[in-house]
Amino acid sequence: MLPATAVALGVLAALLAWPVPAALARARWPRRDPLAALVCWQAIGLAGGLSIIGALLVHGLAPWGHSLPEAWWHWVTWQPSTEPVRGDHWVAQTLAAVLAVELLGVLALSGVRTARTRRRHRALLELLVRPGGVPAERASAGETLLLDHPAPVAFCIPGARPLLVLSSGMVAELDGAQLDAVVAHERAHLREHHHLLLLPFVAWRAALPVLPAADRAHDGVRDLVEMRADDVALRSLSGPDPRRTLAVAIVAAAGGAGGQVPDGALAVTGGPVAVRVRRLLAPADPLPARARWAALSSAVALLLVPTLLLLLPAVV
């Protein structure tokens, strides 16, 4: 029997399903160090899935052995259980399988669907836009397209052949330094593969609509990658006041597109955008090295605990 392991994993899963994400979503330190906070969110997501599925699996396979690896081996090789198998063991096994298939399946589905959407966007852009519309000094990478549209919009399509798109409205509204800031921000998304950090949270929010933590985690990660891209962009910008330049570009892009949101579409509130602008105009001190290491080691510990609980033979 492995009751202690199952209980410990269950408690960890409960903590990761509610209080931990709530605390991280409320905390103020993430906007001082978006990268460390992003690592924490990834750890919470992975450890949460691992502990809930692990807890069910450990309980469900308890009659077959004294540790999960042993019980699992006995179970897949059709060896008889050493202890009587009750109904709750079958229920736990089934739930573990359903949850694992759902989480991984939705992730795969979401990945396929976004890849398809990206492919269509890329095909549309290649058809509608002739390359070379962007002022030469900003088209250095050769993947920057100018889309003829009055709304000030900038976006990038990640993937094997990433595209960076500026609308003519954006180019008309911003001066050269501000456009550089926009391009640097989007390049940061592409270079650091932020879409891969966000993808699991988009998928799991779809898979677990009843779990408020899934929403919180998604919104947290979505806002943090933007802040991280702002921080990375600032490093490559010259000029007297790059923070203000980027802030002005953000406000111009947000203000101009205000009328374009179709009715019924869920518009992002000023919240996250205002946070971005505030932290650019009045930056808080960066997180002290000690606090950063504490955050990163908690993330590692969060992953190690369920892994060890699952792999080490139960002590009880």
């Binding site: 669907r113 919009v153 921000h185 597109a257 205000g258 000023g270």
Partner: protein
């Protein structure tokens, strides 16, 4: 030798400019200055069909037409870019999401040094 993407754009421009459905031979004749083989025209047309940009009718020879106008395709793309549905957020990374008029005014006030600009801690969500 022009790239496939360039050929696709050129052919689509012709189809959009045409008054009605056009056959591959007519397209080849129109693009005579580029010296395209008829098979090349067919290849590019079938690629465009696969991507859902071109439809053909059942006449003999087949005649091709754009599925939608250039403006409709541009509108479709912008609708998705400006929309906020879940999967699209993962599909592309937009510089700034749309905000409503009230929030936009608040952001401009922030830039002007108005409310809350003094401290990051004031950034209530």
């Amino acid at each position: 030798m022009a790239s496939l993407g360039e050929l696709e754009r050129t052919l689509m421009d012709r189809l959009w400019a045409a008054a009605g459905p056009v056959s591959a031979t007519e397209l080849q004749r129109e693009l005579a200055d580029r010296g395209l083989a008829l098979t090349t025209v067919h290849t590019v047309l079938s690629r465009l069909e696969q991507k859902g940009f071109v439809v053909h009718d059942d006449q003999r020879p087949r005649r091709f037409a754009p599925r939608a106008t250039r403006e409709a395709h541009a509108a479709e793309l912008m609708h998705e870019v400006l929309g906020q549905a879940g999967d699209r957020q993962a599909a592309l990374a937009r510089f700034v999401g749309s905000v409503d008029a009230e929030d936009a005014a608040m952001l401009r006030a922030l830039l002007a040094g108005g409310d809350g600009a003094g401290s990051d801690a004031a950034g209530a969500r």
